[in-house]
């Protein structure tokens, strides 16, 4: 079952276009939205969470068009924003009161147990928190009301490895029952490489790849070759070429390349680099 589905979503800005975005988040999986800064990750997320209105296309949540959702249905979409969106002047106790009146399924006990787990001070205003603490708080908020999918916009950027790992651990807990899904956008590809089942790679407002992560990592490889060999290769094998002063690097489809060529396994980071800097054949 598809929890969230985007169909041909377009959004035009003066200097940037989101073109025909279609992908879906199946039940029980983690989908990673990868792309360099400005590729359109946030725009996609904002269109799912109702913060912007796409020019055309449709977005569905459990088969229902997203504009027609009631308040309680919309709250089934959990959201964690990169800048948290929480009122920074408040302290945690007041925040609890505010959110209790906003979310129809708010669990104060759950919220407080997360706050205690992270050792967050309850009487200090949120603006005095470090970036990591703010993100932990935003996750605690998203985990304290009943939702079926969690949408996270750059949750790990700017955080130290320990906090990042804690956040990943919470996300694993969230998907334990196999019914809930996660959409996570990030340019820190190592986090996504661990957690995600599917990868949607976005480049200049267009989806370049939408595949199971393991398949991407298996299908492609990076080859270092000499210029003159390039002509002898199967054109269909070559995805992108990155020319260096001394030789060139290829992002290629492994099974179409000669078997005796040396290669190294591809990483998501490579894919980003090849697409943004590399050239076509």
């Amino acid at each position: 079952m598809k929890i969230v589905e985007l169909k041909n979503v377009c959004k035009q800005y003066s200097e940037f276009n989101l073109k025909n975005i279609s992908f879906s988040i199946p039940e029980g999986v983690v989908v990673g939205l990868v792309g360099e800064n400005g590729a359109g990750k946030s725009t996609i997320i904002k269109s799912i969470i109702n913060a912007i209105h796409p020019d055309s296309g449709q977005i569905f949540f459990k088969g229902k068009e997203i504009n027609t959702l009631s308040k309680s249905e919309r709250q089934k979409i959990g959201v964690v924003l990169d800048d948290t969106g929480l009122p920074l002047e408040l302290n945690i106790n007041t925040l609890d009161k505010v959110l209790k009146n906003i979310y129809s399924t708010w669990h104060s006990d759950k919220f407080n147990s997360y706050v205690n787990k992270f050792n967050l001070p309850k009487k200090q205003s949120i603006k005095s928190f470090s970036k990591g603490m703010k993100m932990q708080l935003a996750l605690a908020v998203a985990f304290s009301y009943d939702n079926d999918v969690l949408i996270l916009d750059e949750p790990t950027s700017g955080l130290d490895p320990v906090v990042r790992d804690e956040i990943l651990s919470m996300l694993y807990d969230y998907i334990q029952d196999g019914k809930k899904s996660v959409l996570i956008s990030s340019h820190i590809t190592s986090d996504l490489e661990k957690l995600c089942d599917y990868i949607v790679y976005l480049h200049k407002g267009k989806i370049e790849l939408d595949e199971e992560k393991d398949k991407i990592l298996e299908k492609y490889a990076v080859y270092g070759i000499e210029e003159k060999i390039l002509k002898e290769l199967d054109k269909n094998a070559i995805v992108k070429i990155l020319r260096r002063s001394y030789g060139l690097d290829l992002l290629a489809i492994k099974k179409l390349m000669p078997a005796n060529f040396e290669y190294r396994p591809v990483k998501l980071e490579d894919i980003m680099l090849f697409y943004s800097k590399g050239e076509n054949i």
Binding site: G28, V30, Q176, D197, Y198, E212, D214, L217
Partner: protein, 123 residues
């Protein structure tokens, strides 16, 4: 049970999990009927994706090492001695065929090759 994942290994993650669990079953570190960790629990522990783990489990099940009960999880299958022997035999044949290829390439005679095998077998 202990599983270790290497990011620098040539083998993909699911192959590594498959191999390690298989070996633990073959050398009886994992006993018959013993419950394996849940797919999602193992994924969390190893910090890898759910699909990767699920694929390793699916392959283990396909090859008869484990079985799963809906709603209860996965368990080590009853050891089928014949089956395991066959598996090991196949693996052994593969190793020998590699060795004999190498021998042919270096012009090592059949006799020499067999002597070598005998020597190694007897330890």
């Amino acid at each position: 049970m202990n599983i270790f994942i290497s990011n620098t290994s040539d083998k993909s993650l699911y192959e590594q999990i498959y191999e390690q669990i298989k070996n633990m079953i073959l050398d009886s570190t994992l006993k018959e009927g013993q419950a394996l960790p849940t797919i999602r629990g193992l994924a969390k522990d190893l910090r890898i994706s759910v699909i990767t783990t699920a694929r390793a489990y699916a392959d283990l099940e396909r090859d008869g090492y484990i079985y799963s009960v809906v709603g209860k999880g996965s368990f080590v299958a009853e050891k089928n001695k014949e089956f395991i022997r066959e598996k090991n035999l196949a693996e052994m044949e593969e190793c020998i065929s590699k060795a004999s290829d190498l021998a042919k390439r270096c012009n090592i005679s059949e006799e020499e090759f067999i002597n070598c095998v005998k020597l190694i077998y007897r330890g």
